[in-house]
């Protein structure tokens, strides 16, 4: 399904964000990518659909090498890759429906999009997804009047209406409170399982990664330092990924500094 091999990205500033990263996902599973800030998680995800151009290496999705595609073929390939963002990236001044149907832009002409005249099947799919993410009745609401959790649900619907072969998710819960985070992750993982879509999720929260993923990849300084089951994430592994820290959930209370 997805085969990333020896992917390297060095930014113009000289920062080596990815160093020879290889990952194979050959079943529809939810893969959580964890690691400290600056480990290259975001760069990895963005190199797959080439929002960031990789420096070298290859990304194969269903046998097609995405890194070699010209701009027209890249657009065609992107139609099959859904993406969900940390800051939701909805178009604020458009309605929920317009945002969700944006996921079908790769299949409609400019003029159909201009007149907001999407095929009936797309409209029906949008209403069905709206119900699935718990936002029925919100189709004519403008995105800028939604809460963070609601916006991310619209973001999920926009990605899933593409019927993607691969779902890329960049820190979906970093801007949400703990309860909303779990709700959003649950909806996301349920829908990904139902549609049998392999999913890569960048996530800061180790606990959420353990709860919702079937496989965890740990990154540090642009390299993969762990690849295994959530159950294998021991304190030693976490120290390898994040560095030295007291990982027990009952950390000693920080006492007031002596005065």
């Amino acid at each position: 399904m997805l085969a990333i091999s020896e992917l390297t990205k060095t930014y113009d500033t000289g920062t080596a964000a990815l160093r020879n990263v290889s990952i194979t996902v050959d079943e529809p599973q939810v893969v959580a990518i964890i690691g400290p800030s600056g480990a290259g998680k975001s760069t990895l995800i963005r190199c797959i659909n080439r929002l960031v151009e990789p420096t070298s290496g290859s990304v194969e999705l269903n046998g097609e090498n995405l890194t070699k595609l010209g701009s027209r073929d890249l657009r065609r390939a992107r139609r099959h890759i859904g993406m969900i963002f940390q800051e939701y990236n909805l178009v604020e001044r458009l309605t929920v429906m317009e945002n969700i149907l944006s996921g079908r832009l790769g299949y409609v002409s400019f003029w159909r999009a201009f007149r907001r005249n999407y095929p009936p099947a797309d409209v029906a799919a949008a209403f069905s997804l709206l119900e699935r993410v718990g936002l029925e009745g919100y189709h004519n609401t403008r995105a800028d009047s939604l809460s963070g959790g609601q916006r991310q649900r619209v973001g999920i619907a926009r990605a899933l209406i593409q019927s993607p072969d691969l779902l890329l998710v960049d820190e979906p819960t970093a801007s949400l409170d703990p309860k909303t985070s779990r709700q959003v992750m649950r909806i996301l993982v349920e829908l990904a399982r139902e549609q049998k879509t392999p999913t890569l999720i960048n996530i800061h929260d180790v606990q959420l990664a353990k709860t919702f993923a079937t496989r965890v990849i740990g990154m540090q300084e642009g390299r993969i330092v762990f690849d295994g089951k959530p159950g294998q994430l021991t304190e030693k592994v976490l120290t390898d990924i994040y560095g030295e820290e007291d990982w027990s959930t009952e950390a000693a209370p920080v006492t007031a500094a002596a005065s």
Binding site: N49, L51, R75, R76, A77, R78, R79, H80, I81, G82, M83, F85, E87, Y88, N89, L90, V91, E92, R93, L94, E98, S102, G103, R104, L105, G106, F110, A113, F114, G155, R158, Q162, L168
Partner: protein, 271 residues
């Protein structure tokens, strides 16, 4: 607490925002501005003799202007309406030309460097030429009349409107644009769904604001034969028919106040 004298011993008690050197530079700038002003006045050869009876002349003119010749209203009503039409049509033409130019002149939407330079050239060149000068050019091309006025208004406005829209395009949030790109949308679709919704309030606001400016600008187009109330205004001034002039000025003021009110209302309603 420490003893009262301790702070005085440990810390300086004098603080100045500027060092003596910085102060000197500041005062040198002030002196420079005064020098330029004095130099300009000396260079202009202003005939000070006319200032002696300026107050008398002013009162005389005010008496001739008052009361306005209200009977003349019928004669200038049509030219006044023509003035508004010139401003409105000129602004509509402006919109259709300025809108695509703005996308060329914005760094994040321009297709390539040549297109960007072309866009920037249009922005600078149309704004650097005054409406009256454009009017003279278009009167030469289309002959005297409102058509020349419409094109003069449009050409002066293109740079203004396109520049403000281009700046708004450069300031948009790139996140939604990235999201639309990630769905496999075409370049044009990305502009339509990702960029346009973000700049639409600025587009409407700028066009309405320019229409309001254009109403004021189009009142003088007639001075060079490009239609509107300016023709009547110019001939009344030449005939020293001051009561007609004051009537026209009053009517123009009413129209300008109304257009400013309309433009302010529209702009405050845009969200």
């Amino acid at each position: 607490m420490s003893a009262p004298g301790a702070l005085r011993d440990r810390y300086p008690q004098v603080w100045r925002k500027y060092t003596p050197g910085q102060s000197a530079v500041k005062w040198a700038w002030y002196a420079g501005v005064v020098f330029v002003a004095v130099w300009s006045v000396r260079n202009l050869d202003i005939p000070w003799i006319y200032f002696l009876d300026a107050d008398e002349q002013f009162m005389d003119l005010a008496r001739r202007m008052f009361p306005p010749d209200w009977t003349y209203t019928d004669a200038v009503l049509n030219p006044l309406i023509e003035t508004i039409h010139i401003a409105t049509l000129g602004t509509i033409v402006t919109f259709f030309i300025a809108f695509p130019v703005a996308f060329l002149a914005a760094r994040n939407t321009t297709p390539n460097v040549a297109a960007w330079l072309f866009g920037k050239f249009i922005l600078v060149s149309t704004r650097s030429i005054n409406t009256i000068v454009w009017a003279l050019i278009f009167v030469a091309i289309f002959g005297p009349g409102p058509v020349a006025g419409i094109w003069a208004i449009a050409f002066r406005s293109i740079g203004f409107v396109a520049k403000l829209i281009a700046e708004a395009i450069e300031e948009i949030d790139n996140g939604p644009v990235e999201a639309i790109e990630a769905t496999g949308a075409s370049r044009l679709q990305v502009l339509l769904m990702g960029v346009l919704p973000q700049v639409l309030p600025v587009v409407y606001g700028t066009v309405v604001y320019r229409w309001d400016i254009n109403i004021r600008e189009s009142t003088v187009l007639g001075f060079v034969g490009a239609g509107g109330i300016g023709i009547e205004l110019y001939s009344s001034i030449n005939q020293f028919a001051w009561s007609q002039v004051s009537l026209m000025l009053a009517l123009i003021m009413v129209v300008v106040v109304i257009s400013e009110f309309v433009s302010a209302t529209v702009r405050s309603r845009i969200t």
